[in-house]
C-alpha cells in the first residue's frame, strides 16, 4: 500500500521508429559525403555521357559536365537536412509530407550520386550503365517471375537455381549436338531454348511430385533439386561436352522495328538478344495473369487460403501443379540466358547463385512482378557498376562500391516498404480432410 500511494511518473521516452533510424543513417551518410567531398580536388569534373562515340565523332546528345566536389557538397547537405527533418516529429500533416518528400528525393538521388562520386574526374556513360544493368538483370528478373508463379500458389521454390542450371546445361547440349546436323543455326538455337524451357518444366514436375503429391517439405525438395542439378549437369558436361571444342554462337541480336531507330537507346536497349526481350514479355504476362485473370485470382487464393478456395470448388492441388510447372519453364528460360544468350558455352555451376538472388528479388519485390523486376534491376545495376568501376579504376576497393546498392536495398526495404509478407499458405501442403 505504501508503495502504491506514491506512483512514479514514467519518463517521457523518445520512441525509436523505423523512420528515425533511417533519418539517422541519412545524416551519417550525408556527413560522410560532405567530409569526403571536402577532401576532393575542387577542380574535378565528372562528365556524364549518353552515347558511345568513336574518336572525333560529335555526339547528338550533349554531355553533362558535373563539378564533382560542389555536387557532393550539395548532396551531403541535402541528406543532412532531410535526415534532420525526419528525425523530428511533425504535428502538421503538411510538414510531415514535406519531410517525407525530401526523404524520397534523397533516395532517388542516391544512385546517380554513387555513379558521380565513383567516376570523379572521369567520363561515365549513363546509357551503357543502364543497358548493362538491364542485361545483367535478365536472369534475375525472369528467375524472380518463376518464383512468383510458384509461391503465389503456395509452393516454396528454392529450386530456381537448380532449374536454371539444368536448363542451361540441356539447352546448350541440344545446341551442341544440333550443330552437327544441317539445321540452320537459328532453328537449332530456337530448339535449344525450347529444350531448356522444357528441362526447367520437367524438373519442376519433380518438385511438384515431391512437394504436392508426397507432401515432402518444400525446402527439402528444393534443396534436393539444387544438389541434383550440380551433379547431373557436371556429369553431362564431362561426358559429352568436354570431348570437343565446346563453344557455340550466342543468340543473335534482334532489332525492334521503329523503336530501334530511336537515338541513343535504340541501339543500346532496343537492339538486343531475344531472352532480354522475353524478360519484358514475362513481366507483362506475369502481372496480367496474376492480377487480371481468373487463373491469377485462383492462384492467389490457393496460396493464401487453400481451404477457402476448396470450399468454392477450386481444385487446389491441380492449380498448384500447373503453377509449379509454369514456374519451372520460366526458370528454364532464365537458365537458357546463361548458356545460350550470354556465353555460348556451358560451365559447371555457371548460374553462380543467380537463382537465389532471383528469390531475394522476388521477396524484395513483395511477390509482385513489378516489384521483383525493380529489385532485379537494382541487383543488375550493382553488377554493372562493379564491372565499370573495375574498368575505370578507382582508388577505392571496388567490392565496397559494388556492395552499395545491396545496402541501399536493405535500408529501403527496412525503412520504407516494411516487412514483406509472403502468401500465407506458402510451404504448407494442402490436405483435404
Amino acid at each position: 500500500m505504501t508503495a502504491a500511494s506514491k506512483p512514479k511518473t514514467s519518463r517521457p521516452s523518445i520512441r525509436v521508429t523505423r523512420k528515425r533510424i533511417i533519418a539517422l543513417l541519412l545524416i551519417l551518410l550525408g556527413l560522410f559525403i560532405f567530409i569526403e567531398a571536402g577532401r576532393l580536388d575542387s577542380e574535378l569534373i565528372t562528365t556524364l555521357t549518353f552515347e558511345s562515340t568513336s574518336l572525333g565523332e560529335e555526339p547528338t546528345v550533349g554531355d553533362i559536365p558535373v563539378p564533382t566536389a560542389p555536387y557532393l557538397i550539395v548532396i551531403g547537405l541535402l541528406f543532412i537536412v532531410s535526415g534532420g527533418l525526419n528525425l523530428a516529429e511533425w504535428r502538421e500533416l503538411r510538414h510531415r509530407r514535406i519531410s517525407l518528400a525530401l526523404l524520397a528525393v534523397c533516395g532517388a538521388l542516391f544512385i546517380p550520386t554513387v555513379i558521380i562520386a565513383a567516376a570523379a574526374g572521369n567520363e561515365t556513360n549513363l546509357t551503357t550503365i543502364i543497358a548493362e544493368s538491364l542485361r545483367l538483370a535478365t536472369p534475375l528478373a525472369i528467375g524472380a517471375f518463376a518464383g512468383i508463379w510458384c509461391e503465389r500458389a503456395g509452393v516454396v521454390n528454392i529450386a530456381i537455381e537448380g532449374m536454371m542450371l539444368f536448363a542451361a546445361c540441356f539447352g546448350f547440349t541440344t545446341l551442341f549436338f544440333l550443330r552437327a546436323t544441317p539445321l540452320p543455326l537459328e532453328t537449332a538455337q530456337l530448339l535449344a531454348v525450347i529444350i531448356a524451357v522444357l528441362a526447367g518444366g520437367l524438373i519442376a514436375l519433380l518438385h511438384g511430385w515431391l512437394s504436392i503429391t508426397f507432401r515432402t517439405d518444400q525446402i527439402v525438395s528444393g534443396t534436393v533439386i539444387n544438389i541434383l542439378a550440380v551433379g547431373v549437369t557436371s556429369f553431362v558436361r564431362r561426358e559429352y561436352l568436354l570431348s570437343t571444342e565446346a563453344g557455340a554462337a550466342k543468340l543473335g541480336n534482334i532489332a525492334i522495328p521503329i523503336l530501334s531507330d530511336l537515338p541513343v537507346i535504340g541501339e543500346a536497349i532496343f537492339t538486343n538478344q531475344p531472352i532480354f526481350f522475353m524478360m519484358f514479355v514475362m513481366l507483362a504476362f506475369t502481372h496480367i495473369v496474376m492480377f487480371y485473370t481468373r487463373w491469377g485470382l485462383r492462384t492467389r487464393a490457393v496460396g493464401e487460403h487453400p481451404h477457402a478456395a476448396d470450399t468454392l470448388g477450386v481444385n487446389v492441388n491441380r492449380t498448384r501443379w500447373t503453377n509449379v510447372f509454369i514456374s519451372g519453364m520460366i526458370a528454364g528460360l532464365a537458365g537458357a540466358w546463361f548458356s545460350l544468350e550470354a556465353t555460348g558455352s556451358f560451365n559447371d555451376g555457371m548460374t553462380r547463385g543467380a537463382g537465389f538472388i532471383a528469390l531475394a528479388a522476388m521477396i524484395f519485390g513483395k511477390w509482385t512482378p513489378i516489384g521483383a523486376f525493380g529489385a532485379a534491376l537494382l541487383f543488375g545495376f550493382s553488377d554493372s557498376l562493379g564491372i565499370r568501376l573495375q574498368m575505370v579504376g578507382v582508388g577505392f576497393p571496388v567490392q565496397f562500391l559494388q556492395m552499395v546498392p545491396y545496402a541501399v536495398t536493405l535500408v529501403v526495404l527496412a525503412g520504407f516498404i516494411g516487412r514483406a509478407s509472403p502468401p500465407k499458405a506458402v510451404g504448407q501442403p494442402y490436405v483435404k480432410e
Binding site: T293, A301, H305, T311
Partner: protein, 512 residues
Amino acid sequence: MTTAPPVLEVRGITKRFPGVLANDNINLTLRKGQVLGLLGENGAGKSTLMNLIYGLYKPDEGEIFVGGQPVEISGSKDAIEHGIGMVHQHFQLVDVLTVTENVMLGNESVSGPFLRRDRARREIQELSREYGLDVDPDALISDLPVGIQQRVEIIKALYRHADILILDEPTAVLTPQETRGLFKIMRTLLDKGVSIIFISHKLKEILEICDEVVVLRRGAVAGHADPKESTEQSLASLMVGRDVILEVEKADAQPGDEILNIVNLTVHDDRGLPAVEGVSFSLQRGEILGIAGVQGNGQTELVEALTGMRPVASGRFFIKGQDMTNASPRKVTECGVGHVPEDRQRDGLVASFSVMHNLVLCTYYQDAFSNSIVVDDRAIAENARELVGQYDVRPPIINNIAGELSGGNQQKVIVAREFSRDTELLIASQPTRGLDVGSIEFIHKQIIRMRDEGDGVLLVSSELDEVLSLADRVAVMFEGEIIDILPIEEADRDTVGLRMAGVREAAQGGAA
C-alpha cells in the same frame, strides 16, 4: 408452418472417423422458408453433419435429398450446384483479396481469361440492396470487422444462388448488436424463400429464431423440440442429457486483504495507440471483480499488461504489494498468478504438444518435474493423469495432441493447469467463450471454488450474463477507461448496459 414442403432431407446418415462415431443414423428435414435449429454440445457432431451435407466429407451410410430427389454430393462444387450454401464457423475468406474477389472466386464472371470485376461488383451491390447486406465491394477482407466478414460469407452463398443456407455457429464471434443485425438479415432471407439451418449452442438464440429444433448428442439425434413450447432449461437438459444448473450458485463473498492494486495504468495497443488509459482499481482476496465491456475497449491489453505479455506505457501495478510492472510472464506466474488467456489456441496452449506437456507449461522447470537438465516425463504423466480426471478432460488420454481436442476440453486443460497451481490471484479472460453449456457450468463452478479458497479473481468477459452471475463487483470498461465500479447488488443489466455504451453516471443523473 410445418406443412411447407421439405427442401432438404437427410436420411440415416452415418459417419465414422477412426475410433469415433461422429454421426450415427441421423435424420432431419428442412422445410422451405424455415429455420431449422441444430443444437448440441461441442463435439456432438453438428459440424460433421453440415460438412457432409456441404460435400466436404463423404458419408459412410445414408442419403441426402434435395427438393425430394436423392442427390450425390461428393464435393462442395456439387453442393453449390444443388443450391446449398454454407457459412463456416471459421470464415473461408482470403484476407488479402477484396470482397468482390472473394465473392467471385471459383465462380468468376469473365470475358475470355480476364476477370470482369465490374460485373461481379454490380451483382454484389444488387444482393446487398435486396437482402440488406450492407458491404463495400472494394474493401479488403482484412480491413473488415467480423460482423461484416460474415455478411460477405452470406453474399458468397447468395451469389451462387443458394436457397439452402447453413450457418455454422454464426453468432459465436458476434457482439450482441451484431447478432441482432444477423437475425434481421436472416428474417429477410426467409421472406425471400431461403431456408436456413442454424447451428448454435446458445439456447436463447435458438429459441428466438428457429421454427424447429433438432438436438444432437454424441453423434445421434437426442430429440426434436418446438421452440414455442420449450424453455432454455428443457433444451439444455436435452442437449447435455441431464439436468443442468444454468444459474450459478454461490455464497456471499468474504473479501480479505488486497491482492492486486493498479495505479494509473496506461498500455498501448499494437499500433502504439493508448488502449488502456489511466486505469486504477484494487482487488481483494476472496472476491470476484468482473470487468464488463464490449470487446475491444482495452480489456485484452489490460490483461496482457498484468500478465507480463505487453509492456506498460506508464503507471504501475502491485501484486501482493510487490511492484510487478513490466515483470516477465514467468515472474508474474511465480508470484502466484493464474491466467486463463482470452485466445486459448494462441496464448493458452501449444497446440502440437500433448495434453500432458501442456499441463506443465509453466511448471516444467520446477523440481517436481525436472532435475536441472532433463524433464521427468513420469512425474509429468502422473500429474496429468490426476488433473485430467479431476477436471473432466475428455477423452482422458494424456498423450492426445492438445490441438485435436474440442474447444471445451482445450479450455479444461488450461483451467486444470492454472487452477491446480498454488495461486493467489486468478486472471480469467473470456473463460467460457465458444464453450457449450456443460463446460461453462463446470468452469464457472471452478472459478467460484477458487474464490472460496481465498483467491482474488479478475474476470474479464464480454458476455454480460457471465459477469453478472459470477462477479461480486462489476467494473465497466469503455474506451480504455474503467468508467464505473458497482457492487453486484447495484449492477442490474440496464445500468451496466448503459455504462458499456459509455454513458457515465454524471450524465445519466443530469448533474452535468
